[in-house]
């Protein structure tokens, strides 16, 4: 996993609540057995005017000019500004894979769905929860200022606007540590092998039917 330390990125706004993982990456693309290549199909049903299927040449498909991410001013965005309950629905990790492949490294919203939130950290994406009133303000500033960027600093846990206004955000110590260093959990967990084996031994004695 790539580490995440700081990011100074162009912001793209997605002004709707409850954006679900079916919208982020529609089911037909979940048939892939790979982890990569989902970016061109991120938000597929909103982004293109035709029906997308795996294997199509996405560069030749008609874009929906009304979809916000298709606007020229948001090309190259790496910070996604969203509304409440972002990433609800299915547990598909293809959703953060698609967002990352598209180019988003940080997502700011008032709230996220639990499984999606968790999946982001496993892939080097930083999901940032900010107060709804702050998110409202950021939506206004993005709309008013073409080329609007935000600076994210994970170590300091801050989001800073071009005018220098700074907002603090919370992040779990463990997740922060993994993300700053690009560590994946498996390696860390396997440092606890003895504890797992000891637990398993006790568990087997208490509930032997779990090990039939």
């Amino acid at each position: 996993m790539d580490s995440f330390t700081t990011l100074d990125g162009l912001v793209a706004p997605l002004d709707r609540a409850n954006v679900d993982t079916d919208a982020i990456i529609p089911k037909q693309f979940l048939k892939s057995i790979k982890r990569s290549g989902f970016g061109p199909n991120a938000f597929d049903e909103w982004r293109y005017l035709d029906h997308g299927e795996p294997g199509m040449d996405n560069s030749k498909r008609p874009l929906n000019p009304d979809f916000v991410l298709n606007q020229p001013r948001y090309q190259g965005a790496s910070v996604l500004l969203a509304r409440e309950n972002f990433g609800c629905g299915s547990s598909r990790e293809h959703a953060p894979w698609a967002l990352l492949d598209y180019g988003f490294h940080a997502i700011i919203a008032p709230s996220f769905a639990d499984i999606f939130f968790n999946n982001c950290f496993k892939n080097g994406i930083l999901p940032i929860r900010l107060e709804a009133s702050i998110v409202d303000k950021l939506f206004d500033e993005v709309a008013a200022n073409e080329g609007y960027r935000l600076a994210v600093d994970l170590e300091k846990q801050t989001v800073t606007t071009p005018s220098g206004e700074s907002f603090a955000f919370d992040v779990d110590a463990h997740r922060k540590y993994c993300l700053l260093n690009g560590f994946d959990d498996i390696g860390l967990t396997l440092q606890q092998v003895d504890k797992i084996k000891a637990f398993e031994g006790r568990h087997r004695i208490k509930q032997p039917w779990l090990f039939n």
Partner: protein, 468 residues
């Protein structure tokens, strides 16, 4: 000793290690696997030169991509076929038990786990699928995980997690005739919203919950995730134990007695405190119908599509306007005036034998309305299908004009060939009415099996309580 919630008990009995910030390593008892969210996890395992920690904890089944029509020629779509073959190969390579596509026991992963007794009280159960919350019906701590976590559990038998807050959803009293667990689930989501349970594990309690069958409890816990809660659960009682006795993976003989004695402790203690409590009166719950593109956009069958004036803020107004447009509906349209094109009875929410019996009781001796292009019944597993056929339910459905299919996820998410065409409107017993969920441009209304069957016969939504 302080009174503990069921969730406290399940959590505490699985903590391997806990760090100072509350991040814990949780031991996993049962790992259910399907073809969509596992290939990259197995690949990661292999690339790292690792093997599954405890292969006996894993049960695998293909369900999302399988055809629900004749399977003798295999899967026509080469991409779907490759995904199912990849699961077959991974299971063969690592010695994982798999119920393959043509095994009688094959079915939707959240149907077959309980059906086999592979889901037991007191377990931690995970699967790369958000509807893993279903298994909480057995007083298990069960929730969906991402593919990275699937690999993590394969490699370490553990999950890195933080304890959630606890919410109690208490439903007291008796449900009206024709009102089901599905309606309770939708009514709860209507009340607290699709993010209402975010950060919580929900325990469903109260006399109306205790009166539910295991099938009903599974339907309810299945939809905890639609309320934002990763896990839903119900305490153990006689209903739980009676359901489990004699199932293939259930303990036997002396082990059974010991297990039952332990399972009886799996309930919240008197006086246990919850971080949030939501109460509903069972008698107030109407048959529910979703009108929009989120499960929280739901009203009683006698209700109407809400008016923008009822929206709580600007963001919700925007969501509703988009939902009206997507669903092809106008504010204040009576739900019973909405005509449908297709009917889907199935999914991990409502494809168990009790669901099929309930739908068949409505369809018996009737005919699907002329305006309904397709009404399909997709049993949750091969064993559910066989039981239904033994009871003659297949004949009731076929005589009424329903199609009787092979088991799988089918048109809940349309990864196989079963899907809605753009603009088609469907009464579905599944769990998500998101845009495009059942096919691009498809319009989904979530209902109970009884309500779906009644809508199929009438050609539009009707109040099943008045149904003759």
């Amino acid at each position: 000793m302080t009174a503990k919630t069921l969730y406290d008990k399940l959590w505490e009995s699985h903590v391997v290690h806990e760090e100072s910030d509350g991040t814990a390593l949780i031991y996993i008892d049962r790992h259910l696997v399907h073809e969509v969210t596992s290939p990259q996890a197995f690949e990661g395992l292999k690339l790292a030169g690792r093997r599954p920690w405890r292969v006996g904890s894993i049960l695998a089944v293909p369900d999302h991509n399988v055809p629900t029509t004749d399977r003798s020629q295999g899967i026509a779509d080469p991409i779907s076929r490759l995904q199912v073959e990849t699961l077959d190969n991974n299971c063969a390579e690592f010695g994982v038990t798999e119920f393959k596509m043509n095994d009688l026991r094959q079915g939707i992963v959240h149907v077959i786990g309980p059906e086999q007794g592979a889901t037991l009280p007191g377990m931690t159960v995970v699967c790369g699928d958000s509807h893993t919350s279903t298994h909480g019906a057995f007083a298990a701590l069960a929730h969906g995980i991402g593919t990275s976590e699937v690999e993590h559990v394969l490699a370490t038998q553990c999950l890195v997690a933080k304890k959630s807050k606890a919410m109690q959803v208490k439903v007291e009293g008796a449900l009206q005739k024709g009102v089901t667990a599905k309606d309770i689930a939708l009514a709860v989501i209507g009340k607290i919203g699709t993010a209402g349970g975010t950060g919580y594990a929900i325990e469903f309690a109260g006399s109306a919950i205790r009166a539910l069958s295991m099938e009903g409890r599974m339907t309810l816990c299945n939809m905890a995730i639609e309320a934002g809660a990763r896990a839903g659960m119900v305490a153990v009682d006689d209903t739980t134990i009676d359901y489990l006795k004699g199932r293939p993976y259930s303990p036997r003989a002396e082990q059974w007695e010991n297990a039952v004695a332990y399972w009886r402790t799996l309930k919240s203690d008197d006086g246990a405190s919850f971080d949030a409590v939501v109460e509903l009166d069972a008698a107030d719950i109407q048959p529910q119908v979703t009108w929009g593109t989120s499960p929280e956009m739901v009203v009683g069958v006698n209700g109407r599509v809400p008016d923008l004036a009822q929206a709580r803020n600007e963001v919700q107004r925007g969501d509703w306007e988009r939902a009206y447009a997507y669903m092809g509906l106008q504010a204040n349209t009576a739900i019973e005036d909405i005509a449908i094109d297709k009917v889907f009875i199935g999914s991990c929410t409502n494809s168990r034998i009790e669901d099929l019996r309930a739908a068949a009781s409505i369809a018996k001796g009737k005919r699907v309305a002329a305006n309904v292009k397709l009404a399909m019944v997709v049993p949750g597993s091969g064993l559910v299908k066989a039981q239904a056929e033994k009871e003659g339910l297949d004949k009731i459905f076929k005589d009424a004009g329903f199609e009787w299919r092979e088991p799988g996820c089918s048109m809940c998410l349309a990864m196989n060939a079963d899907r809605l065409e753009p603009g088609e409107r469907c009464a579905a017993t599944s769990n998500r009415n998101f845009e495009g969920r059942q096919g691009q441009g498809g319009r989904t209304h979530l209902v109970s099996p009884e309500m779906a069957a009644a809508a199929a016969i009438a050609g539009h939504f009707v109040d099943v309580r008045n149904y003759q």
